[in-house]
Symmetry: C6
């Protein structure tokens, strides 16, 4: 019955692999110990669900500011887990759905997961699934209640489920009582240390080695989400001569000024 | 007519027994006098409904923080009561239901109970049945009003009913006037005393006797819900070599650090 | 036409008598002068509607804390009035009704009453009919407006109507402007004086005469709704040996401790 | 076409006369100059609409506390006006109507009035038509907007309309901007002066002449709505021997004590 | 195509002329320089739309307190403009309409205007179209958004449109962002100067010349909407002998006293 | 497939070109360095999307006060980009649409864009698409959530998309979390410097050279949206003799006085 399950869900996973890879194109860069620790804790959860008989259900929330790399991390986890059933529940696939249809879809994903011996469900951008907006605040209580129940519902005897959710509104999920139902809550921070930023920039190999310290300095102190850093680099790359392989510090400064990022 | 009722509801109970047992797998561990006292008060209620002619209806609320063992306690009560009719009303079985359907389902459960000579209805996670969320706050007034009425409605002449509800939002139920309609409100606390935690850890038999005091100390002072304690222990067990029978203090500390539980 | 009315409504009353009696099983105990005065004022209203030509409509609100005996008092009034038409409007009979259906039902009851020469309508637990909850606060304005109009609408020429409502949220009805439309508002207090509690306990005849003062003392000072007192007594009775006729002070103290009633 | 209109609406008026009379059974008692002045201002409005060509539409609001006699005054006006078309719009005739149906009904009444050469529309208890409740506050904006428009809409060339509304929530109508659209706002006060109360009591002829000052004194200082005064008197009348023609001061005092009116 | 348009819309205008005239029966009285200036600015807008090619759309808001003459002014503008297409959008013609139907109607009026070469649309009493009420506050966001868009939408190439709106809640329209979309906002004040009031009273020719200063003085200082002034005068006229051609100061004072206008 | 796409969307673009041009009739005037810088940053984005393989999706928000020229700038960008697919999503084309239909329409526009190799979507007046109003505040959360998701959704492999949105409520979009999802946020300011105003007036060539400084001075200090400046100039042009080619300072002052713009 284990093999049957493997067979049965493989195609589904096939389709999901592409989706997962599109969330972390270009591969993952390690920015330092914080990132490494995060990744290893995630692996621990993947392994525990696979091997322990006492925790048929583990739920984990990745929360951090916009663009810090949460979705990429969850997708990476999905690829590396090699679970027979991996499925992403994302608002991107539910544009225009009514609250009710969203709930049906999410319930369906969990029901499918409950049918597989070993499953991973990724709830990407939970606040989007919840249709959350700070004004009011407003959100879909229907979706929230569905999540609150599904995240506590044990899979049937003999099935195991890992749930990994991402959110950039950790405090909101707190107030909603949603953080409480997760077994584990992990913070995914933006790049904050000069060394972290430098490590990422080095990996990208777009500045001449000598320019890197100055390039980092121009970004000023303060948190920098990896998403924004990648965009700034790309913009500067397009500014230079199409033949040039490296970004000049002048182009770099130009981009930072235009986009008001310069301190 | 008593026997008829017994026969008639037995199958229903049969189905429920499995459900009840799934809520307290692994058996109940006594953490000390507070737990024992709680259990005995519950028994007193079960007995009173069975024997007294003057209290055809008794309603009891078990309230306490997340993971303190409320559902397990209520399920245990259901198993031990040996009432001919025992039924759990839980949001888990009503995912995606409209408010109206929830009310119908709950009303049906009470109507069935009113048909049996001796019944126990467990309302698990009342705030989930109510679709409660602190933001707003929002909840289903339809479900609330249904509960407010059903919890006061006497069963027909000659029938007896015990209702046992669980909730981790006691103060919210207060404000809703829901606590008021219960005859008895019992607090189910998390583990708070060092002795309580030690007793539970001892029962689990996962540390070498000598390590227990240090293991408990690492948890720091402060309340610890039994649910969380069981998860931490399981996680640490998976960390060690698969051959090892005991958790080393190092693995224990590692888990506590990873999950940010270390003081 | 008077006799015709009598005949026509008798069956309805027959059905209602059982309902009324179920609200005051065990008979009414007088706890002292406050209770006696309340009962006599109620009788005065019953008589005035029967005999005066100038007050075809009288409306009376019994308000007091939970369990103080309001419903029992109203039911008692219904039995003693011997009006040809007596009808209870209660949320218990409207579980799952929509706001609209509730209004229809209530309107129907008043329309029926307007057809009888002499009628009593009991609106039990008005805040439940209103689906009131303090959070928000929320309630059915549809039901409220229906009550506000029906409570002021004179019966047709030659018909007489007494309306008796009960509520444990007097202040809320005030804010809603509902108290204002009642001709008479009577407070039904909990037992507050030591003598009142003693009188009730004596009537129940469950303690040995010598133990009564001590038993009352154990309840501490402060208001005690009669409903709660009766439950505590019953619980203590079940604790003792099944052969025992009296409650021992030890069992009494045990019950009070268990339920956290002990001061 | 004037005569045609007269004929056409007479039956409608016939039906309304009974309704109007039921609102002021027992005739109107003048309590003193304030009352007289109020009545004469009302007459002035009735006459102006009848005779002036320049004011085809006049709207008047009678506002005052509960039971001060507003509806009786408006009904009296309707009877004395002798307009060919008089119609009462009251929530009493719309119990259970949806907001929309209420608007339709009100719009119909104004449309009918616009068809008659000379009309009086009485809007009784405007806050009931508006389904107003102080909690929230809530009300039907649909009905409000309908009134706001209809109260400013001129009848067609050659038709004349007087609108007389009653309300016990003058300040609420202010906030809603509803008072603003009335041409005239008149206050209908409760009885406040000792002389006013005395005059009314004298008219009722239920105390012996010598007892009147004492009877009035027992009522204490402060405003007394005429509705309440009439009820107290009736209650006291029922208390005495059925043969007695006068109320004794003792019975009077008894009633006041029972109903908590005694200072 | 210009002539075709003229022909096509003329009948529509015919029907509207009566409506427009009914809003300013009795002709317009100039109360002084403020009024004259207002009228001439309005004319300037009418002419600019007719002659300039660069402003195919001009929108103007007349705002001022209740009864200051806004609707009369807009109607006057409509008559004097002699545009081939003039249309009034008013809540009076939409009593009982749903929000949606109101939007349809308004959109239809603008669509029709966009078909004519030169059009004037009058939005009378914008806050009534918006179903605005200060409690809440509540209003139809559907209508508001429709107006916000239509008031900025350029007519098709070669067509010209002037929009003139009236409102007595200028500050509310501000908060709604509705004032912002008008090109021009003009204040229509009540009569405030003694001279203005005197000028209007003189024009009415209802007091003997000698009485006018005293009559004005009796009105006290403070703003007086022209609507109220006209009503007071008419009321006083009806008070005197039907033969009398002038209002006596005594009758004048009587009316002011009755309606509580006397300082 | 690239050419196919080009062909396929060209007609759509043809229809859009007219729309785009109607938003910037009369051509764009450069008011100075701020404007030039803004325009060049926009061009940089257009080029980056065209040439870089790493940024298949770029989103840009133009925010600034009413009438500062945001829509004109976005339209200009659309014309100059020469992308094969350009489409404007504007509330103007959705008057009377339900929230749901608006979402469908917007989703359709993005879906079409995702089918073209290189697309520009202009979201004009985002707060109108959102049906935003400051009172409440209220807005369509359905539309908001749709935008929040679509603005982050990567086009399919090999397609590229630039989104350019305009809004005059930048701070509101902030609170909604909508600004956060844009890669770039650019401020479009009103004219603030005397030189900027002077430059624009000079370009219009409506004052005699000598009058310009005085004309600018009359406008006073403070921000002046270009939209308002153009309207004032046009109004003054219409005031003068139809033969005159220049605006006299007297006419200029007259217009400023009438519209209350004079300091
Ligand atoms: N460690 C990493 N190494 C390289 N690229 C990364 C890494 N983390 C994230 N990225 C890239 O950064 C971009 C943004 O990351 P991602 O979408 O995961 O962030 P996020 O936190 O989910 O953002 P949001 O809050 O907007 O949902 C993606 O293109 C992703 O591929
Ligand atoms: N006394 C006990 N001995 C052993 N295991 C227990 C005990 N109490 C609870 N558990 C176990 O702890 C876990 C959590 O308990 P349970 O679900 O009853 O807590 P809860 O208070 O209902 O939590 P929640 O607030 O999340 O509903 C369950 O797996 C249950 O089997
Ligand atoms: N005077 C009395 N003598 C004996 N029993 C009484 C008396 N009053 C009330 N009871 C009993 O007490 C119990 C509670 O009374 P009841 O339901 O009338 O209280 P209540 O005020 O309506 O409560 P609630 O606020 O919950 O509606 C009932 O079982 C009733 O029979
Ligand atoms: N001047 C009066 N003389 C005699 N009876 C009166 C007089 N005014 C009112 N009443 C009587 O008093 C009672 C209450 O009056 P009414 O209903 O008009 O008051 P109301 O102000 O409309 O009350 P509510 O605020 O409840 O609507 C009626 O029975 C009416 O007949
Ligand atoms: N200048 C004027 N000369 C003569 N009559 C006028 C003048 N202005 C207004 N009126 C008259 O005054 C009355 C009220 O004017 P109008 O309805 O235009 O005021 P409004 O400001 O629109 O009032 P509201 O705020 O109630 O809509 C109308 O009968 C109108 O004919
Ligand atoms: N740089 C410019 N040169 C010439 N005309 C301009 C310029 N910018 C804007 N305009 C003109 O000014 C008018 C208003 O500009 P536009 O509608 O773009 O402003 P907006 O900021 O979008 O206004 P809103 O906030 O009302 O949407 C238009 O007629 C436009 O053609
Ligand atoms: Mg993400
Ligand atoms: Mg539980
Ligand atoms: Mg009761
Ligand atoms: Mg009334
Ligand atoms: Mg007007
Ligand atoms: Mg714009």
């Amino acid at each position: 019955d284990f093999e049957a399950a493997l067979e049965e869900v493989k195609p589904a996973f096939g389709a999901q692999r592409e989706t997962l890879e599109s969330y972390c194109t270009g591969g993952m860069i390690s920015s330092g110990p914080v990132f490494d620790h995060l990744l290893s804790t995630c692996h621990r959860l993947v392994n525990q669900v696979r091997s322990s008989e006492n925790t048929p259900l583990l739920t984990c929330l990745l929360e951090g500011p916009a663009g810090s790399g949460k979705t990429a991390l969850a997708a990476q986890l999905g690829i590396l887990s090699e679970y027979p059933f991996v499925k992403v529940a994302s608002a991107e696939n539910m544009v225009g759905y009514s609250e009710h249809s969203k709930c049906l879809e999410i319930t369906k994903i969990f029901a499918d997961a409950h049918k597989s011996s070993l499953s991973l469900v990724i709830l990407d951008d939970v606040e989007r699934l919840l249709e959350y907006v700070a004004i009011g605040p407003r959100f879909s209580n229907l979706v929230l209640q569905t999540l609150l129940v599904l995240l506590k519902k044990r899979p049937p005897e003999g099935r195991k489920l890992l749930v990994c959710a991402t959110s950039s509104s950790g405090d909101v999920l707190d107030t909603m009582g949603l953080s409480d139902v997760f077994n584990v809550v992990l913070n995914v921070p933006p790049l904050t240390l000069t060394e972290e930023i430098e490590t990422v920039i080095q990996s990208l190999d777009v500045f001449s080695r000598a320019d890197i310290p100055k390039a980092v300095e121009l970004l000023g102190a303060g948190a920098m989400p990896i998403k924004r850093l990648l965009m700034l680099v790309e913009m500067a790359r397009q500014t230079g001569d199409s033949g040039a392989t490296r970004i000049s510090l002048r182009d770099w400064q130009g981009v930072l000024e235009d986009l008001g990022t310069l301190p």
